[in-house]
Symmetry: C2
Subunit: 453 residues, 2 copies
């Protein structure tokens, strides 16, 4: 299919091309257009029927959108923008350089411009920033028949028609009515009698992650958003909730890997941009690792007398880091899904303590067997005369570092959330760096006590 379209484009068979594209889904068209050169893109876009063109425009990435806007006449630009829903308009403008954004705004009437500016002003992660303003509002004294008339009249211009919002003269939200309710009610019934008054809504300044949580919990298709005076100002639809859910998961994953979150897809992000998102944490963690180096330095003289102990440092640091990151990642995810809160901290600590003891014991035992049969009997790795003591120093350290790692890994994210830091930042890299130092410290103390230096 894709090949056929590229061929038709090359052969300039625009009539046939239009026929084929008209039957396609906007998301698929945008994907194929991504393969075109800038001039081909402009030509191909102009072939599309107007409504489909606008729908395809929304599905494009911002580079393609900018190419098109630059090529558009003012009239074309207005035609496309007028067909977009308000949330998409705001998204497009948000991604454009100031001059392009200004040109778009100039094509809109005064009232729309004011609304766009208001929407652009909401904080990036707020419900207001993802809502749209096209929805169907009803009044309590309308009949079911009236409601259907309104839906037929405004249906094409609303992002969803399946949930309608009942408001009073001051635009305060009174209830919701679904099209299912309408279809299953006699036509003369009053909206006020069939509406559901137990409405769940969010405020414009609520975190968009909480908004998505409501979709997940209540299985909504759309959620009403109200301002401080409880006036209905917009709705968030489920497709936007899915986008947010995906973005938030990506952000969490990036933060857990010590990367500053970026919004663009991997191949679209330039080398310098990727570098900028990665270097801060690398630098910070590198400097932090100096502490661990310092601990080794201070035990340097003793280590040179017991060189066998050095070779177990990577295993001890690695195992404590892995144990800790297992706990921190689990706790971060549970926090972000709302499974645990600060008040659960003791339950979490108790559980991680138990898991830590069991994991520590098993690892310790396996390690002891390996140390004895492989390192001691087979390879004779230990410093002569100190074999058993060194073996126990390694195993005892392992046991305690695993437990400490589980505790540190689980407590840090919860505390971070409590003091309004992002828990996702307390994931593997930071926890591992902390635990590197902790495990070495435990190692040298245990070895010191057992060997008696």
């Amino acid at each position: 299919m894709e090949k056929q379209i590229l061929e038709l484009m090359e052969d300039k068979k625009y009539g046939r091309l239009r026929e084929i594209l008209s039957e396609m889904n906007p998301a698929d068209i945008a994907e194929i257009f991504n393969e075109f050169s800038e001039s081909e893109l402009t030509v191909a876009f102009r072939i599309l029927p107007k409504e489909l063109a606008a729908e395809t425009f929304v599905e494009m990435d911002s580079d393609m959108q900018q190419t098109l806007i630059t090529a558009f006449s003012d009239k074309e630009l207005k035609e496309v923008m007028d067909r977009l829903f308000m949330d998409d308009t705001v998204d497009v403008i948000d991604e454009m350089p100031a001059s392009v954004a200004k040109r778009i705004l100039n094509q809109t009437d005064k009232k729309t411009r004011a609304l766009i500016n208001q929407l652009l002003a909401y904080p990036e992660d707020s419900a207001g920033s993802i809502m749209t303003t096209e929805y169907i509002d009803l009044k309590i004294n309308m009949t079911v028949e009236d409601a259907f008339d309104k839906i037929r009249k405004k249906g094409l211009d609303s992002e969803t028609i399946y949930t309608c919002y009942v408001i009073d003269a001051g635009r305060r939200l009174l209830g919701i009515v679904t099209v299912k309710d309408l279809l299953l009610s006699p036509k003369t019934n009053l909206i006020g009698d069939i509406m559901d008054t137990n409405v769940i809504y969010a405020n414009t300044y609520d975190d968009r992650e909480e908004v998505v949580g409501l979709f997940d919990k209540y299985d909504f298709l759309a959620l009403p958003i109200v301002d401080k005076e409880s006036r209905l100002v917009g709705i968030v639809t489920v497709d936007d909730a899915i986008d947010v859910l995906k973005e938030e998961a990506s952000e969490d994953i990036e933060k857990m890997a010590a990367i500053l979150p970026s919004e663009r897809s991997y191949l679209k992000t330039g080398v310098f941009e990727t570098f900028k998102s990665r270097i801060p944490w690398l630098l910070f963690l590198m400097i932090s690792a100096t502490i661990t180096g310092g601990i080794i330095s201070s035990y340097e003289n003793k280590l040179t007398m017991l060189p066998a102990l050095i070779s177990y440092i990577p295993m001890l640091m690695g195992t404590s880091g892995n144990s800790g990151s297992q706990s921190s990642v689990t706790v971060i995810r549970a926090l972000s899904l709302g499974d645990i809160e600060f008040k659960d901290i003791f339950k979490v600590v108790w559980k991680e303590l138990c898991v830590g003891i069991v994991c520590g014991a098993v690892l310790c035992l396996v390690n002891l067997l390996k140390l004895y049969f492989v390192d001691y009997k087979l390879l004779n790795n230990f410093d002569s005369g100190r074999e058993i003591t060194e073996m126990f120093a390694v195993c005892i350290t392992l046991f305690f570092t695993v437990i400490v790692a589980k505790l540190v890994g689980s407590i840090l994210p919860i505390v971070a959330k409590k003091i309004k830091l992002d828990p996702a930042v307390m994931a593997s890299p930071l926890v591992t760096t902390v635990l590197d130092a902790v495990s070495l410290f435990i190692y040298f103390v245990v070895a010191g006590v057992l060997i008696g230096y």
Copy 2:
């Protein structure tokens, strides 16, 4: 609200309790019921109006469901199960012990039982396992009016009414019609004339992750699922797609932290279950770290002559691990979102190489300044006579390990996906363990060359 309900329950004011609960959302009721004892739960559940009771039942976790089923009479059990949608029925049965599952199946008629068994047989991660069988099907020769009649008749028993599926006599899917299309068409139009024949669908055995990708791409409210003979057998609704999206993200995050994925929420998972999900990777990684230990062992004699080098091991291993996990996590996420494929491997490698060189250079420079001004001038950490050589050994190693780390971190997940392994497993812990060994190896080789031992 919650407190009031708990009080009413204690005071046995069931009439008032029923009034309050009747106005509430099933998900909220399930949350409050979670605080009840087993006997309270059974009492409270019986207070609920029948339809709300069934909706609340679906929102409960499987422990609560099992408690209720055990307390139910056969008649009560049948009443609840008859009201569930087929996908929820299958989910409930799937979570129950065999004896309870059998009791549930015994309450259903023969045809339903056959259908349930068929749905239970789909692989866990398939589209078939998340679909439901209640939807509205239309015929091409129906009018819009007929369609509305059918929706009114079957509406309450369908999971969504907003997308209707047009099928032929052999149940083959011909097109879809949305309620929006129906509302905006004259009543006498034929379904065959207004239906959209460009239908995107999935097969029962498709991976559920791909199904969710379709929801994300096309903004669907429901997706039809067909069998091998192209017959419509069910639909997946957007709320289930959201659940899958959330679960898959959690699974990816868990795998990236070397945890075997679990399905239960954090606090509901027992210590032993958590232990079982964490110990395999801890053991495997601990044993793998032996290789790194082995590298140190083989350089042991040289290290005791240059003890200053030992203290930089944690910093080098840490930085290479962090660099590598940044790349691997970014690539894993991009693979899972479909942003990159195997054919992009050279683009990815080239990009990571560039990013690695820039990151490596910056880290190397900062480190050199720190080594010179702090470790050398201030602390005099290095072995006398070898200060400059040792300093350069550390910095050069850092530069190369960062580059190698970026390459290893980005290549491993792509290759894993190509050979049908799960790329998420190639994340931080495994990559870090590999890179520990690699960075130490580079370190000793570089030091060996520079210092000439």
